[in-house]
Structures are given as C-alpha cells and as structure tokens.
C-alpha cells in the first residue's frame, strides 16, 4: 500500500506513467467511468480549499466512486480534540483512500503512518502539495508534448512558494531543462532549495529581477503571487508589486509558443486581459488537475 506525501516519493518513470494514464483518461473517459465503483474517497480538509477538494471529489465521482469527508476542522472530530493519528485509523474503517489537507506541516505523514489505506497529501501548510505539481507537469506535457529540453521561468514569490519549489524539484530530474528564476531580492529561492535541489541536480539556472528581460527565452512561465505580507518594508512592496504583474505589454517579446501557468487562485498578478491569449494555460491547468488526480487514485488503489 502506497501513499503520496511528497512529489519526490515518485520516480520519474512513475510520474511519466501517471501522466500517460491521465492522457488516456482524457481520450477515453467512458472506459474509466466505473473503475472505482463501490470505492470511497475520504476528503479530510482541516482548512478550506474549495478548488483542491472539489477537484479530488470530481475525480473520484468521474471514476464511479463516491466521496465522504469534511471541509473544515470545526465540522470534524478534530474540534473535540481527536488526533490526526486516531482520525486516520477511524477513517480507514470507512473509506478506501484519503485525501488530506491540513494547516500543520507533516500531518498527512502522520495520517499515512496510522492509516491502513493510502493517503494523498492535498497540501500541508507551506510544506508540500504534490498533486499541484503533478497538475503542473501534466499541463506542461500536454502543452509542449514533452517535459525535457525547455526553459522554464518561475516568477514572483520564489521564497515561500511551495508550488515553485516542488516544480523545480520535479522538473530538474528531466534532461535539458533550464530555469530562469525571476523575483525581487527579498523573495529569491531559499538556500535549502538552492543547495538541495538546484545545485544537487546540477540543473542550469540563473536569477534575475526582470521579467521583461527574461521573457524572450521562456518556453514556460510559471507565475505566482507576490504578497504584501512577505515584505518587511511597505516601500519595497509598492516599488516591486507591479513589476511582477503580467500584462499584455509584457508579452510583446514572448515566444508565440509560450505557456503561462499559475497554481491559482489569482489575485491581480495576471491581468484578466491575458485570459483570452492562447498562451494562457491556467484554467486548462485546473481541468488537468482533475485528470491527474483520477490517474493517481487509480494508481494508489491499484486499479488497472
């Protein structure tokens, strides 16, 4: 029995197999409509996350399974003081697989250590969110036809953005991927990402503060939100905030084949004027998230 807690739990071959399975689901949805009949997914969401929870639930329903669970800690036994370990043991009696979101880092690992059914980490604080990374990888694969030999720009909050760290880790395992890390000085990738992911893999990367300067070479642009609360100085935030908002004029020198991704929710970092641009992929990304979660549920439940 396997769980998915961290994207590094999966080998490159397993990621490729999941992507291939998701693509097959997209092409032949009817063949998968009953694959999880009589199986139950428990969505244990200790904090609200409508998009991720509904994506998991839609994924299970489209596989013919059913869904139980809760969407906030207050409506669960956690409000009475039950531990994550005990909740995992109890839910194992009712469901076949768990998707857990929790504000505490490592909570899904505690669940996996105590559950007798697979556990999927659906986001644990600022730590991991592996199904978001799988979503990103499927989107890039569908848009580019490959996951190797390309230049990926990551823009915005690269210090606290867990989705960026996971994406760097996952894509640095593919050959010929170069990264351009675009952020203000205050929000550059942290040292542990630099040493454990970038330097350890030997991947080629460079850092810049200018989105405009980096734009012409990018095949993929992964946008994240620059949040006011991350800055010590209000003056720095005001100075930098508009630099990392993607507007149509900033795309003038971009490749026609560029793919723009964003983990969502978006606030103002991508202008709505970009939404109609064929290079905008962030809503396709949401749809891809459902398909890759379907593939993951099948894999963890060992359903062929």
């Amino acid at each position: 029995m396997r769980s998915l807690l961290d994207i590094s739990d999966l080998t490159v071959e397993e990621i490729d197999a999941l992507i291939a399975k998701a693509q097959d689901i997209i092409e032949h949805p009817d063949q998968y409509a009953e694959k999880c009949r009589r199986k139950k997914l428990a969505t244990l969401f200790y904090e609200p996350s409508t998009r991720t929870r509904l994506s998991f639930e839609a994924a299970m329903l489209e596989l013919g399974g059913s869904v139980i669970g809760f969407s906030e800690a207050q409506s669960s036994s956690a409000a009475k003081g039950e531990s994550v370990a005990d909740t995992a043991r109890v839910i194992s009696c009712f469901a076949d697989i768990i998707a857990m979101r929790h504000p505490k880092e490592g909570a899904p690992r505690v669940a996996a250590m105590n559950a007798s059914i697979p556990v999927i980490n659906a986001g644990d604080g600022g730590h991991n969110h592996p199904t978001q990374t799988l979503t990103d990888l499927l989107t890039i694969k569908r848009e580019k036809g490959r996951l190797d030999h390309m230049t990926v720009g990551c823009c915005g909050d690269l210090k606290f953005g867990r989705t960026v760290h996971s994406l760097l880790g996952a894509m640095s395992r593919y050959e010929g991927v170069d990264f351009v890390l675009i952020s203000p000085e205050e929000l550059k990738v942290p040292e542990h990402v630099r040493s454990d992911i970038l330097n350890a893999s030997g991947v080629k990367y460079r850092e810049t503060e200018s989105l405009l300067e980096a734009m012409p070479e990018l095949d993929v642009l992964y946008m994240t939100r620059v949040q006011r609360e991350r800055f010590i100085s209000e003056a720095d935030y005001v100075r930098l905030k508009d630099t990392y908002i993607l507007t149509p004029d900033k795309l003038e020198n971009a490749k026609a084949s560029l793919s723009i991704l964003h983990p969502l929710p978006r606030v103002n970092e991508i202008s709505v004027a970009i939404d109609a641009d064929p290079r905008a992929c962030y809503f396709k990304q949401v749809l891809n998230g459902k398909f890759i979660r379907m593939a993951l549920i099948l894999m963890l439940l060992e359903v062929e």
Partner: protein, 138 residues
C-alpha cells in the same frame, strides 16, 4: 584531577567540549544509581579540549544518539579493570525521540504521542531533517 578507576563500566571519550552535560541528559544518566563522572574541558591532543563521561556500570547505550552528537566519540567498555572493547558510533540514518522539531508549524508541535523522527539527508555535512516537515535540525 583524579577520578576513581573503573572496574566494570563505560568510558565515553572524545565528546566535543561543552556537550558532555547534554549527552548526560540524553542518555538518562541522572537516573542511574551507580557512580557517574562528567569531566569537562579535559585536554585533548586532537581537539585541544574534550568532555569525558565515566559510568561505573556497563549499561545499554544508544549508539545512534552518540553518533548523532558526534561520530568521533569513543566508547570504551571496561571489565575487570581492563578495556575489552573500543567502539566508534556510526552516523545514524535516523534518530527517534532524541531531539524535537523547532518548527512551530510542524505537526509534532500539536500532535501528542507521536515520535520525533529526524532523518539523515546529507551524510557529508551531517544534516538531519524532520521526517514530518523537513525542517533542518539545529
């Protein structure tokens, strides 16, 4: 400084200077009824100074813990007044319930009764990370 000769017991030598008391606590030596001596800042040829622990009884030692403190520590087992064994602990792949995660966002900060587990992620630099949240051990 004179410390009584051990007949049957353990001498933990080459403890990094200043960490003997920490090790004393980790090993639970305060709970022993036998004689235990902690020598601080003893002269050391290699390091200038070192700490030494002498335990006047052969007890089960947590070698993973010693390896985590410093794999250069030497453990001498004494029987009948003679050293019968000399061991260096290995750097353990994992340590359980020795140190606690300092990350306030880690599940170990709220979940009762779970083991505090740290895994060795970089042997060369002796880096341990929390098995739950990946925070580096200080």
């Amino acid at each position: 400084m004179l410390i009584g000769t051990i007949v049957d017991g353990i001498v933990i030598d080459h403890i990094p200077a200043g960490r003997g008391m920490e090790l004393y606590g980790y090993l639970g030596l305060d709970k022993l009824n036998c004689e235990v001596a902690l020598i601080k800042n003893a002269p050391s040829g290699k390091r200038g100074k070192k700490d030494i622990l002498k335990i006047n009884e052969v007890i089960d030692l947590n070698f993973d813990l010693l390896g985590y403190i410093d794999p250069h520590i030497t453990v001498n087992i004494i029987r009948g007044g003679e050293r019968v064994e000399k061991r260096h602990p290995d750097l353990p792949d994992e340590i359980r319930d020795v140190i606690r995660c300092k990350n306030p966002r880690c599940i170990t900060s709220t979940e009762q009764e779970i083991q505090h587990i740290f895994k060795l992620t970089d042997r060369e630099n002796r880096v341990y990370r929390c098995a739950y949240c990946d925070t580096r051990a200080k």
